[in-house]
């Protein structure tokens, strides 16, 4: 017979440990190690001085950590003499503008699709839902034609504009508005005399913060690591981004570069990780509304 206290440990979403959970740990621990090991190895490589990188057999943990690889990244300039700081500044500007624009556009579109009454509403949401199936790699070429013919070629906006319409983001936020923004609240605010802009700013956006945070993460990941705009649409080196610069550093294959590559990869990876950890509970609450019916 199962007592209620033991049920606490054996049911789904248990609140305490029970020995029946051991089998799950035995599965999770090795898989987590498989996921983490390569990441740890590269992070350790990033701090290795050159002689440790060349050692055989390769050491897993760095013995005499040095910041040489990072220093190299800071000091070198691109082939045309543009310093690292310029690329970093470009990336910060691109990321900031993209995030703000994405959140505004996704938020207001989701609000309109969820709460406004107009004829094509259902149909438009269906179109966006179908676009979840969209495979960007399939139309890289027509997209390229659109971008070079719309004046975005060699233009700073080429880093930003292509990332703003994101069907997954709109889908998640719209579902969230459906369930988390009650019509009665909007009605009350309207009676109090709030205009549309105030309504969105004061009522809707605060209520859907978790979903907007999720959109922020997805967008950040896409923009921060993007290399394609720099390689395909930008000819002026001073308009290129940090991810492009780091990628160009690691093109060589010398052992020194293995360390620099690891350091560069780590610099690209850490912001993604930190932002996700900071916002993970919001992401999870958004994801519970992610179902397609």
């Amino acid at each position: 017979m199962r007592g209620s206290s033991s049920f606490q440990g054996t049911k789904i979403n248990p609140t305490r440990f029970h020995r029946s959970q051991i089998k799950f740990y035995l599965l999770l621990i090795p898989i987590s190690i498989f996921m983490l090991l390569p990441v740890m190895f590269v992070i350790s490589n990033a701090f290795k001085p050159i002689d440790e990188l060349q050692r055989f057999p390769p050491t897993f943990i760095v013995e005499r950590p040095s910041l040489n690889n990072f220093r190299y990244i800071m000091q070198v300039a691109s082939g045309t003499g543009v310093p690292m700081s310029r690329f970093l500044l470009n990336t910060v500007a691109v990321t900031a503008v993209t995030l703000v624009a994405t959140i505004l556009i996704t938020g207001m579109t989701a609000y309109a699709l969820s709460k406004k009454k107009f004829r094509a509403k259902e149909w438009l949401f269906k179109v966006n839902q179908a676009a979840l199936m969209f495979v960007p790699a399939a139309v890289g070429l027509p997209r390229y034609l659109v971008i070079i013919n719309s004046g975005l070629n060699n233009n700073f906006m080429a880093h930003i504009v292509p990332f703003l319409a994101m069907p997954v983001g709109l889908f998640l936020v719209k579902q969230f508005v459906d369930t988390q923004v009650p019509d009665s609240l909007l009605e009350a605010a309207r009676i109090d005399g709030a205009g549309e802009i105030k309504l969105m700013y004061k009522v809707v956006f605060p209520l859907i913060k978790p979903a907007l945070a999720t959109v922020m993460i997805i967008t950040f990941q896409a923009v921060w690591g993007a290399v394609e705009p720099s390689t395909m649409f930008i000819e002026d080196d001073t308009l290129r981004t940090f991810a492009f610069y780091l990628g160009s550093l690691t093109a060589g294959g010398a052992p020194m570069m293995a360390g620099v590559g690891a350091a560069a990869g780590m610099i690209m990876f850490l912001p993604n990780l930190i932002i996700f950890i900071a916002l993970q509970s919001r992401v999870m609450s958004t994801m519970s509304h992610s179902g397609i019916k």
Partner: protein
């Protein structure tokens, strides 16, 4: 009296709806324009170009079905390498990665919250890695010299005498691509399914035990899967798109398109090969249309499986 009241009410409704319509138009405009520019129009261009010859220098000339005919009858690389590679890759990484993601989400729901968060983070972490990092990680692990982690392990245990050129040998290449992609297969869909499973009402399980289900397997079949169907559909669509969108992996690992002897050539690489390298835009567009069609068919199948039947 009442008739007039209703008339006035319906009038007011109509005015409100019109106002709503205008507001909605303004609110939807920015997204609508961007969506058209970067998603809808490119798809239409791909369709259009697929019926033409176009080399980026001269204007496209109409070619009828010639591109599709040569794709289906003459493209030996497509039939010998690209199609089998794409299907093998997509089937293992798509449904395979998806089943692993669902199973891991279910396992995570069986342990307490604090360790669950830690393990979930470990499993999701590879999806957070940007392309640069993925290629640095796995070229280091499978590097062809003795500094590569796998080679070093095999050499120091005397399992091989010479380091293996993992990333240049067709025999290994596609399998390595599959391992790398499975490594990062636990993405947004995984989080959605985890959130879905955790949100199932616990009383459903208790009721089911009273009704006579006996074990965890029956729990999954009768309670878990029916309750998280919507999230599972979302996860499935994400998995399919991810599997077909992957083309960067092979190029990042081998450092070249085409990949070594076409061993890791996927359909997206084939498109880039013809589009950006050979400038045969019409032909590349025909392959794109084919790819979009494949994704559409696979997504329809998953909608059949998980969608709610009306």
């Amino acid at each position: 009296m009442t008739a007039r009241k209703t008339a006035r009410k319906s009038m007011r409704d109509r005015v409100n709806t019109m106002g709503d319509g205008m507001h909605a138009l303004f609110l939807l405009l920015p997204y609508g324009i961007l969506f058209s520019m970067f998603i809808a129009v490119p798809i239409l261009i791909a369709f259009g170009l697929s019926f033409t010859y176009f080399d980026m220098i001269q204007a496209p000339t109409f070619a009828g079905l010639a591109n599709y005919i040569s794709l289906l009858t003459q493209d030996t690389i497509f039939f010998q390498h690209v199609l089998p590679n794409t299907l093998r890759f997509a089937i293992i990484v798509g449904p395979g990665g998806y089943i692993i993601a669902f199973f891991m989400a279910w396992v995570l729901a069986q342990i307490q919250p604090a360790p669950r968060t830690v393990f979930a983070l470990c499993l999701y972490m590879p999806s957070l890695a940007p392309g640069v990092f993925v290629s640095v990680v796995w070229t280091t692990v499978f590097s062809g010299n003795q500094a590569g982690l796998v080679n070093a392990f095999l050499l120091s245990n005397n399992l091989i005498d010479q380091p293996i050129q993992f990333l240049q040998t067709p025999y290994y290449f596609l399998n390595i691509m599959i391992i790398v992609s499975l490594w990062s297969a636990m993405g947004v869909g995984f989080l959605a399914m985890l959130a879905g499973i955790l949100n199932i009402d616990e009383q459903l399980y208790e009721a089911a035990y009273i009704d006579g289900i006996r074990n965890r397997f029956q729990e999954i079949i009768y309670i878990t899967i029916p309750s998280v169907k919507p999230q599972m559909l979302f996860g499935a669509v994400m998995a399919i798109v991810g599997a077909f969108n992957a083309g960067g992996v092979g190029v990042a690992l081998s450092g070249a398109n085409p990949t070594p002897q076409y061993s890791g050539q996927l359909i997206t690489n084939h498109i880039d090969d013809f589009g950006f390298i050979r400038y045969e835009m019409g032909y590349a567009a025909a392959i794109s249309v084919m790819l979009l069609g494949m994704v559409w068919v696979f997504s329809k199948i998953t909608y059949k499986f998980f969608g709610e039947r009306d």
